[in-house]
Structures are given as structure tokens and as C-alpha cells.
């Protein structure tokens, strides 16, 4: 279970890669009303329905791999790239993201509990070390399950190259994801040393301190990532 971070981290790492633009044409730059408008009337077109492409302009490598035009889901025939299928995908996406929101709260609660038990263990209550480990395991499972729900969800209907609260949320996710890999690894190193030591009750204070800082940074960035999200 100590290596759960690596196992769950594979799809996460693929999907977290920087988003790249599709080959779709860029939307035409729009002028501001305050600026001098181009004195040219719109073509005399009848008011008619306008159709959009089925996939967004910008997709992450993970999304392309799973949901792209030739993605896994298209190739196995589970979700062909049709309007009907994309409609179903949107329902699936909303369900996955709603569970992602619930999972975020559950993970934060587990993470805070882990931090509290970890701090108590560092303060000298060594008997609480096992409880700390149990909560850490619960946090790892909850964290990577929650992350996977967002990363593996079908792509949205539109995604433009822009900077917004979701960009901050994703930027912070890179930090707390790194923390979720590093913190258990540091704990694993401490545990290995303890097992090989003649006095297992003693904690290597320096390593424990780094583990502690890593845990606090991870928790703080995780909480911040939740707070920056607005509708």
C-alpha cells in the first residue's frame, strides 16, 4: 500500500501533462466595442443554426489518449465520436466531477486527520504512529481515486487557452500531487530505517522533520486548490 501513490500516479501523470492545442483553427480575434469598429456589415446570412465541433480546442495528452478522435474509448467502441455519445459523455463527466468534489472534501478530512496524528507522533506519542499510518493509507486511496475521477473524465465541450481559477486549481494540483508522492516516500524511508535500527522506538528527527514539512505543504496546497474554485 505504501507504493499506491506510484500505481495510481501513472494515469495521473499522463493526464496532468501540459495541455496542447488541437489542430482546430483559432477563433477569430474579436474587437472591443470601445475600439473603432470595422465599418463592415455582417454578411447577409439568414438566422440559422450553428454547429460546433464535437471535441474541445484544447485537450490534455491524457484526454487525447482516452477520449481523442482515435482515443481508447473510441477504438474499443465504448463511446463513438458522435453527438449522441458526446451527450452521454457530458452526463458521465458531470457525475465524475460531482464525485470528485465530494472526494475532495473526504480527502481533505483524511489528510488533516493524518497531519494531526503525525504531529502527535512527532511530539512523542509514539503509540499513535500506527493510527497515523492507517490514516495516511486512507488519504492516499481517497486522493488518487478523487484525482482519477477528474483526470479520466471525458473532455468538456469547450476549452480555450486561457488563465482562470481552474488553471490555478491545476497549478496547485501539480504541487500537492508531488507532495502526495514525496510525503509517503519519506515516511517509507523513515520506517525502513526504524526496522533496521537497534532502537526502533527512536525517530530520525531530521527525516521526520522533512516528512512533516512535506505533509504540511501538501495539505495547505490541497486546501488552497479547493478554495480557489468558483463557478
Amino acid at each position: 500500500m505504501k507504493h499506491a501513490g506510484f500505481v495510481f500516479g501513472i494515469p495521473f501523470a499522463i493526464a496532468l501533462g501540459c495541455q496542447i492545442p488541437s489542430f482546430a483553427a483559432e477563433a477569430a480575434a474579436s474587437a472591443h466595442p470601445d475600439s473603432s469598429p470595422a465599418p463592415e456589415a455582417a454578411p447577409a446570412t439568414d438566422v440559422a443554426a450553428m454547429k460546433d465541433p464535437l471535441l474541445p480546442e484544447v485537450m490534455s495528452p491524457g484526454e487525447r489518449l482516452m477520449w481523442g478522435k482515435h482515443g481508447l474509448m473510441r477504438e474499443i467502441g465504448a463511446f463513438p465520436l458522435t453527438e449522441e455519445s458526446r451527450e452521454k459523455e457530458m452526463g458521465l463527466r458531470r457525475t465524475m466531477l460531482t464525485i470528485h468534489e465530494i472526494g475532495g472534501f473526504a480527502t481533505l478530512a483524511a489528510m488533516l486527520t493524518t497531519v494531526v496524528y503525525g504531529q502527535l507522533t512527532l511530539n512523542g506519542n509514539l503509540s499513535l504512529g500506527e493510527t497515523h499510518q492507517a490514516w495516511a493509507t486512507a488519504t492516499i486511496i481517497s486522493y488518487f481515486t478523487t484525482a482519477s475521477l477528474s483526470l479520466l473524465s471525458p473532455p468538456p465541450m469547450v476549452r480555450r487557452k486561457e488563465w482562470n481559477t481552474v488553471s490555478i486549481h491545476k497549478g496547485l494540483a501539480i504541487v500537492h500531487f508531488t507532495g502526495m508522492i514525496l510525503t509517503p516516500l519519506l515516511a517509507d524511508g523513515i520506517a525502513r530505517e526504524e526496522r533496521g535500527s537497534s532502537s526502533p522506538a527512536k525517530i530520525d528527527r531530521d527525516k521526520a522533520h522533512i516528512h512533516q514539512i512535506s505533509g504540511y505543504i501538501t495539505t495547505a496546497t490541497f486546501a488552497a486548490a479547493m478554495m480557489v474554485i468558483t463557478f
Binding site: 477569430a28 474579436s30 474587437a31 466595442p33 469598429p37 470595422a38 465599418p39 463592415e40 456589415a41 455582417a42 447577409a44 446570412t45 439568414d46 438566422v47 440559422a48 443554426a49 450553428m50 454547429k51 460546433d52 474541445p56 453527438e83 458526446r86 451527450e87 457530458m90 463527466r93 458531470r94 468534489e101 468538456p156 465541450m157 469547450v158 476549452r159 480555450r160 486561457e162 482562470n164 481559477t165 481552474v166 474554485i229 468558483t230 463557478f231
Partner: protein, 182 residues
């Protein structure tokens, strides 16, 4: 003097003074400059989505009352500077099934410094009557028409978007700032 000539121009161009013109005139909103926007409120947060790519055709009759105004905008053309939010909104209005929001006037009557426009708004496959006041202005060879009105999402069977289980308000404010050539 300039203001006076502007007023005269609005009246003349829009042919709203009965008897000044006997021919219908067609105006189209200039794309990229004219804006159609919506306003939505989520607790402690106000959202505005703007479309600059929509069709608006005004078929102005000499008697004003029988003038026709048609507007059609793709739901996907609204940009709130957050594409995740735009995508969420598109899911809620089932943009695949109902890609456009449309307005067609049924009557235009002079009212105060502008006109009262009545018509039907079709959104999410539901058509409801709406009415709003518009104020036309004319300057530098351009005609600008500004107005706004509010509708309820529930009237159009649109489920309110939610974040962290908190839905947006039901009220949706629609604003327009249309530019056309004189």
C-alpha cells in the same frame, strides 16, 4: 446642435417617425463589435458570459409596429473567461440538443426615449414571451441599440449549474449592445 442632429438621425435611420419613410430597411448587427451577454449570480460571485459572434437582423418597417427583429446565437459562442464554466453551462442547457438561443419579435412600440420590444425567446427548446425596452443611439455613421431583460432559468426548464452543491440564482439577465451601420 450635434445632439440634435443625432436624434434626427436616429429617427430618420430607424424610420421610427411615421411617414418619414415608406420603405422597409434591413439592419444587421456588426459581428465582433456587437455584444450579447448573460449575467448569472453564484454566491459571492457574479458571472458574465459574452458573445460577439451572433446573428441579429432588424427588418425595420415604416410603421415601426410591424418591424421584425431576429436574433440567433450559438450557446457555445458565450465566453465567460472560464471555459470550464462555459462547458458546465453548455451541459446544463444541453447545447448538443439545443445549440442556439433565439429571439423573434412580435411587436415594436415607441416608449419613452426608446421602444418597447415584445417577442418570443427560444432557449433550451422552450419558447416564452419576453418584453424589453431598447434605447437607440446614432453617432458617426453607426447605430447603437442597448437593452437588457431578465428571465428565469426554471421557466426554460434549465437546471441551475452547481458548484460544491450550491446552485446559481434562478435569474438570468440578458444584455445586448448592438452596432449597425447607418
Amino acid at each position: 446642435m450635434r445632439m440634435f442632429s443625432g436624434i434626427i438621425r436616429v429617427l430618420a435611420v430607424l424610420a421610427l417617425a411615421s411617414g418619414t419613410s415608406t420603405q422597409a430597411k434591413i439592419y444587421e448587427a456588426v459581428k465582433g463589435v456587437s455584444t450579447l451577454s448573460y449575467g448569472l449570480v453564484h454566491p459571492m460571485h457574479h458571472i458574465t458570459g459574452v458573445s460577439r459572434d451572433f446573428l441579429c437582423k432588424v427588418d425595420l418597417s415604416p410603421d415601426t409596429v410591424s418591424s421584425q427583429i431576429k436574433v440567433s446565437a450559438a450557446v457555445s459562442s458565450f465566453d465567460s473567461k472560464n471555459s470550464s464554466r462555459d462547458s458546465h453551462a453548455m451541459e446544463m442547457v444541453e447545447a448538443m440538443k439545443y445549440p442556439n438561443v433565439e429571439f423573434a419579435s412580435t411587436a415594436v412600440k415607441p416608449e419613452g426615449d426608446g421602444y418597447l420590444v415584445s417577442g418570443n425567446l427560444t432557449f433550451h427548446g422552450v419558447t416564452r414571451p419576453v418584453g424589453f425596452h431598447v434605447t437607440p443611439k446614432s453617432e458617426g455613421g453607426k447605430v447603437e441599440i442597448i437593452g437588457e431583460f431578465a428571465v428565469k432559468l426554471s421557466d426554460f426548464n434549465v437546471e441551475r449549474p452547481r458548484l460544491l452543491f450550491v446552485p446559481t440564482e434562478d435569474k438570468l439577465t440578458i444584455r445586448f449592445d448592438l452596432f449597425s451601420l447607418d
